[in-house]
Symmetry: C2
Subunit: 312 residues, 2 copies
C-alpha cells in the first residue's frame, strides 16, 4: 500500500529503435549516468519538500544540459541547419500549463515553458515570438555553438537538401528523441514536463507532440501525469497523454492498464512507435514502450535510483 | 430514430459576449447570411455524396472568405499589425489530421491544413515554415490588403503598444472569434474543421486551441466530431474537443451529455468562456455555449437551414 505522502519521480530520454549491437558498455553508461543524474537532482527537490512542478523542471533541465539527449544542448539540426526546440510543462493541481514550440537559442526550453505558464496569459507560444518572450523574461540564452554537436551535424549532412526527415530514432543514431519527467510530491500534486530537439532535417517549423498539452504532456491530480516520446505525429493524432488520463478517469482503468491501452492498442495502428512515462496520484510509476528500447529511469520507494534502456 | 444514411452539418462563427443591444437587424442578417451560405455550400457537398471532410472544408472556406468572421479574410491584427492565422482539419474515419499555426497571407488556412494532412508527413506546421509549404503546394495566397479591414485596424489601434491583448469576444466588437464546421456524411464518416485569426494584439506567435488536435478540433468515427470556439488557453488546458469524445467512448455519455459536461462543468473553472459544435455517428447535432451568444447554424434532417446567435 503506497503511503499518502510518498514522493515519486520518473524520467525518460527518448524511445525508438535502439540496436543492442551498437550499444557499447561505455555508451550505455553515459546514457544511464545522464538519466540517474537527472533523477537525483529531481528527487532532491521532492525530498526537501519541493513541488512536483519544481522536480520535473529540475530533472528535465538536467537532461537538456546533457549532450547525449536530443533536447536543449544536443538537439538535432533542422532542414535549415538550425536547432528548433519544443517543450511543455503542466501542473496537475490546477491544470495550468505552459509550452514553447520551434524556439531557438534558449538554453533550457523547459524553463521557458514554465515562464509561459507563470508570466504570460498564454499556454503555447512559438518561433521568434517565443524567443522574444525568452529575451524579455531574461532566461538563459546560448549562441549556436553551444548547441553544436559533431554527430548531430554529420547526421544532418546525410539528409540535407533532401525531402528526407529523420526521427531521432534511427538505427545509426547514438542519441534518441525527447526527454521528460513526471513526479508526485509529498502534498499529492502531480506534474509533467517534456522537451525535445525534434527531428533531423525537419521542415516548415513542424511541431510535434511534445509541446502540445494532451498529446505529449499532461498532468491532472485527479488521475496521472504523463510525458511521451516517439513518433510525434501519431501521438498528436492519438491525443496520447490525455487519453491515459481519460481511460483512468472515465473508464476506471488503473495507471498500468491505461498506459498499456494507449501504448500497445491505440498508438500502433497510427504508426505510433514510442513510449511514455506516467505516475498516478498514489505515486505508482509506469514506464512502457512499444519499440525496442526507451531510455528511462525512476526512483523507488526507498530512494534507490534505477535506469534502463532495453526490456528487462 | 436517425437514418443510417443521414447526413448532418453544423457550423459556428465564434462565441462570446455578444450584446443584444448592439445587434441591429441588418447586422444580424449579415452574420446569419454568412452562416447559412456556408451551410448551403457544405450541405451541397454531402447531398451529392461528398465526404464529411470535403463538406467541412467547403463550409469553413466560405466562413473564411466572409469578412464578418475572424478567420481568413477579416482576421484580427496581432501586436505587429499582421494577420496570423491558425486552422486544423481532422478525418474521423482514419484519425488523419492536418493543421497550421501562425500562418500569414494564405487565403484559406483550412485548405492549407488539409494539404498538410494529405501532402506532408506532419500534422502541425507553423509560421514562415507553413508559408513556405503553402507556396510549394501552390495554395492561393493573398497580399496584406486582402486581409485588411478598417474595423479590425481600429480595434488594433486601441490596444497597440500596450500589453493588452483582446480576445475577439469583447463587447464593442462586431465580429467574433473562430469559425468551424462538423459533418457526418452518407457513409457514416465524421470530420471537423476549425479556423481563426486569433486575438487582437496577440504577441509571441501565440497558438490557441484551434490548430491543436484534441483541444479545438477533433473527429473520430467511433464517437463524434467537434469544433470549439472561445478562450483558447482554457480549451488547450481542458483538451476540450477530445474530452467530448472520451466522455462518450469511455463513460457512455450521449453527445448532448458529453458536450454539456465539457462546456458547463469542465471549462468554466478554467475561465473557459466559449462553446462548441458537435455531431455524433448517428448524425445528431449539438451546439452549446456558456456565454451570451454563439454564431451558429445547422441543416436539419429535411434539409432546412437554421441559424442563430443568442439563446432561443
Amino acid at each position: 500500500m503506497p503511503q499518502a505522502a510518498s514522493i515519486a519521480l520518473a524520467v525518460h530520454g527518448g524511445a525508438g529503435t535502439i540496436a543492442r549491437t551498437e550499444m557499447t558498455p561505455a555508451r550505455e553508461k553515459a546514457y544511464r549516468d545522464g538519466l540517474e543524474d537527472a533523477l537525483r537532482r529531481g528527487h532532491a527537490v521532492l525530498r526537501s519538500g519541493g513541488s512536483a512542478l519544481e522536480a520535473v523542471e529540475t530533472a528535465t533541465k538536467a537532461l537538456e544540459d546533457c549532450p547525449h539527449f536530443n533536447a536543449g544542448r544536443g538537439s538535432v539540426f533542422n532542414a535549415d541547419g538550425q536547432h528548433e526546440m519544443d517543450a511543455a510543462i503542466m501542473s496537475g493541481a490546477d491544470l495550468r500549463a505552459g509550452a514553447v514550440a520551434s524556439v531557438h537559442n534558449v538554453k533550457n526550453p523547459i524553463a521557458l515553458a514554465r515562464r509561459v505558464m507563470e508570466k504570460s496569459p498564454h499556454v503555447l507560444i512559438s518561433g521568434m515570438g517565443a524567443f522574444e518572450f525568452a529575451h524579455r523574461e531574461k532566461v538563459a540564452l546560448e549562441d549556436d555553438q553551444y548547441f553544436f554537436d559533431q554527430f548531430r551535424y554529420d547526421q544532418w549532412q546525410r539528409t540535407r537538401g533532401t525531402d528526407v526527415y529523420q526521427l531521432d530514432h534511427s538505427d545509426d543514431d547514438r542519441k534518441f528523441g525527447t526527454v521528460g519527467a513526471v513526479a508526485r510530491d509529498a502534498a499529492g500534486h502531480l506534474a509533467a514536463a517534456t522537451s525535445t530537439g525534434g527531428m533531423t532535417n525537419k521542415r516548415w517549423m513542424r511541431i510535434g507532440d511534445s509541446p502540445v498539452i494532451g498529446a505529449g504532456t499532461y498532468a491532472n491530480d485527479a488521475s496521472c501525469a504523463v510525458s511521451c516520446t516517439g513518433h510525434g505525429e501519431s501521438f498528436l493524432r492519438a491525443v496520447a497523454a490525455f487519453d491515459v488520463h481519460a481511460l483512468m478517469a472515465y473508464k476506471g482503468l488503473s495507471l498500468e492498464e491505461a498506459v498499456r491501452e494507449v501504448v500497445h492498442v491505440r498508438l500502433p495502428p497510427l504508426n505510433g512507435d514510442g513510449g511514455l512515462i506516467a505516475v498516478d496520484r498514489e505515486g505508482r510509476i509506469v514506464l512502457d514502450f512499444n519499440c525496442s528500447g526507451m531510455y528511462r529511469g525512476h526512483v523507488d520507494a526507498d530512494g534507490t535510483v534505477h535506469s534502463a534502456i532495453f526490456r528487462a
